[in-house]
């Protein structure tokens, strides 16, 4: 009953293969940047690590497919944004919150508006994700819409609501972007 070349007779899905060196290299090279993106998305270190790990795990399993598209980082960033706004994210967040000590590490080092950073915590995940994609990732509303799987109108309304809550004046109503 040898199936040494072909896949196993009784299993449709084989065992997960060990991750290749290319993937581990990718994690070594880009892990830091991805974690920081996760930090901006989630607002705390614990969630950032959780989000980054989950997305990287999924990338690792899909590596052979993704690599061909040549944009593994885009894949991970998309996964992270989607996870962040998904039910998965909210459930995990609820579970983690109790165990996570408040990290104030950022405050003394933050080059920016500490008060604004704090207020971002009050935003619903989707609104926060839209802001991060727009102002940190520099994506257009169309790109954000595609990435999150929502309409461009939703992106704009979510952004508008979030900006309003944060008392941020929008300089260019047409694009919603600052030059």
């Amino acid at each position: 009953m040898a199936k040494t070349v072909k896949s196993g007779m009784q299993q449709n899905g084989g065992p997960p293969r060990p991750w290749g060196v290319e993937f581990t290299d990718f994690v070594a090279a880009r892990g830091n940047a991805l974690y920081r993106y996760g930090y901006v998305l989630t607002g705390n270190a614990e969630d950032a690590a959780d989000l980054t790990q989950e997305a990287l795990m999924r990338l690792g399993d899909a590596w052979s497919r993704i690599r061909k598209k040549d944009d593994p980082e885009g894949y991970v960033r998309t996964t992270m944004a989607r996870l962040h706004v998904s039910r998965w994210r909210r459930l995990r967040r609820e579970r983690l919150v109790a165990a996570v000590p408040e990290v104030t590490y950022t405050d003394d080092r933050l080059d920016g508006d500490v008060g604004l950073w704090k207020e971002l915590e009050g935003l619903p995940p989707k609104q926060r994700a839209v802001l991060v994609l727009r102002y940190y990732e520099d994506l257009s509303d169309q790109e954000i819409a595609e990435l999150l799987g929502v309409s461009r109108g939703t992106v704009r309304s979510q952004a508008a609501r979030a900006l309003d809550k944060l008392r941020i004046r929008v300089t260019d109503l047409e694009t919603g972007r600052v030059g």
Partner: protein, 487 residues
């Protein structure tokens, strides 16, 4: 409200926060691997790349952990990563729930309690030392076995009488003359004949052959040989006058037992044999996305009747026999399984049963599921597992009865086999004496592979491997043909 902030300030704050993010705790890659280990523990893996035997890997993964630099760029975090790995393992093993009371248990009882008449033990080897590989039940008391002279090298067919506890040879399985590297693949028990096909899997020749022997026993006869796409045999069947098979790319063919040319059965483009005369529109093997496809029809090749499957929204990997379908919900965080009739009626989601690939359909319309054993989460969000839960279950969709298969090691792992017949098998088996053992040792970090370009790590790391020990005497076998009828 005063709009006292600008978009530029927001952008600067986000970038600033990213730069000022506290360094992550521990090593990212090691953490990703641990996370994958926790998940894969709940998934079925094949320990051996062979027919029918499936191993569930218990806690921890067989990888060396923690020797890559941290995401923060602070250099080596060897000790931290190793410590985290150890701490995780310890917590999972001993901590248990901190706030919940007694965790619930998986309610599925072992098959020996649910269907005692269907469970029996057989020796793992024949008197001459050849190992048995169970194929399927022929009746409530007869098991069709393949005896292997060496690993996966099928040499003869035997019928084991579970009432008498004896085995008789049905036929030898010869290697066709002049063929090197020949291996028998699937065996199929038809009403009058037992048939099988073989190929040379380790070379690139597109070639296969078919054999039959009467069910009463005798000398096996080669029916014929095929080449090209026809030789990509997926499943086979045997009728009173033909062998039938489907090719991996779809299409069902037949060849007369008396010999002759293969011919395609009309109207079978895109169809795949399931169990003669039943065919489906999904391929047997695929893995990944192909496996998640839903079956949309069930075709009877004798009558030409085709039934459309009523596929509910949010379901994937639905596979149907003539009556029942088994699949799972799309939601990745929810392991819920889906059971229904072909027409969509009697839909249910039996508790504790998961589908992680592999066989779904068994003989007599029974379903086959894995049991994750996860019964809840502790205060830290870690999964709590029922260490006594069986590894898998046979599910009777008509009555909702589930019978446990396999024995879970304390590590959470274990293995079981499914009969290797081409049609959905009636045999599940495992070795009660076998244990999975994880062995960890401290090794010098320099002996462990690390990515090129990274500094060579120093110090000691923990390297773990999982092996099996014990067993090798008897197989516990569940023969579904011996399950008492419910109606």
């Amino acid at each position: 409200m005063t709009y006292d902030r600008s978009e530029a300030e927001l952008a600067r704050t986000l970038t600033g926060a990213a730069d000022a993010a506290p360094p992550p705790v521990g090593d990212l890659l090691a953490a990703v691997q641990r996370r994958r280990g926790r998940r894969t523990r709940r998934r079925v893996q094949s320990a051996l790349a062979v027919a029918g035997v499936v191993a569930v890997i218990g806690g921890g993964t067989a990888v060396a952990r923690g020797f890559f630099s941290s995401g923060g760029g602070e250099g080596q975090t060897l000790s931290a990563a190793t410590a985290t790995a150890t701490a995780t393992a310890t917590a999972t093993a001993s901590a248990g729930p901190t706030e919940a009371a007694e965790p619930r248990r998986v309610a599925i009882r072992p098959a020996a309690e649910v269907w005692p008449a269907a469970v029996t033990k057989i020796p793992v080897k024949a008197a001459d030392g050849w190992r048995y590989r169970p194929v399927t039940g022929l009746s409530a008391t007869e098991l069709l076995l393949v005896a292997e002279s060496s690993f996966e090298k099928a040499g003869r067919l035997e019928v084991y009488d579970t009432a008498a506890g004896t085995s008789t040879v049905l036929a030898d399985m010869p290697t066709p003359e002049g063929v090197k590297g020949y291996f028998v693949q699937d065996v199929e028990a038809g009403a009058e004949y037992v048939a099988w096909w073989g190929e040379t899997p380790n070379n690139s020749d597109k070639w296969a052959d078919f054999w039959v022997v009467p069910r009463a026993g005798g000398t096996a006869k080669q029916v014929g040989q095929v080449t090209g796409d026809l030789s990509e045999v997926e499943r086979i069947g045997v009728t009173a006058d033909s062998v039938v098979w489907s090719a991996a790319g779809g299409g069902i063919y037949r060849m007369p037992l008396a010999g002759g040319s293969p011919e395609k059965i009309a109207g079978t483009d895109g169809l795949h044999l399931m169990s003669w005369p039943w065919a489906t529109d999904v391929a047997k093997e695929g893995g990944g996305e192909a496996e998640q496809k839903n079956q949309t029809k069930v075709v009877n090749l004798e009558t030409g009747q085709a039934a459309e499957v009523n596929v509910p929204a949010g379901v994937q990997g639905l596979r149907c026999g003539p009556v029942w379908c088994f699949g799972k919900e799309k939601d990745q965080e929810n392991d819920a399984s889906v059971v229904q009739r072909v027409d969509g009626s009697d839909r249910k989601s039996p508790p504790d049963l998961s589908l992680w690939g592999g066989e779904r359909s068994l003989a007599r319309g029974f379903g086959f599921f894995q049991i994750s054993g996860v019964v809840g989460r502790d205060a830290r969000g870690e999964e709590i597992e029922d260490a006594q839960a069986p590894l898998a279950a046979v599910y009777d969709p008509a009555t909702g009865t589930a019978a446990g298969i396999g024995r879970r090691d304390p590590s959470g792992g274990g293995s079981y086999g499914t009969g290797t017949s081409s049609s959905p098998t009636s045999i599940l088996y495992w070795d009660e004496g076998q244990r999975q053992v994880e062995k960890c040792r401290k090794v010098d970090a320099t002996s462990v592979p690390h990515p090129p370009g990274e500094p060579v790590p120093t110090g000691k790391v923990t390297s773990c491997t999982t092996t099996t020990e014990g067993g090798g005497k008897e197989l516990t076998v569940v023969n579904l043909l011996a399950v008492p009828p419910t109606e």
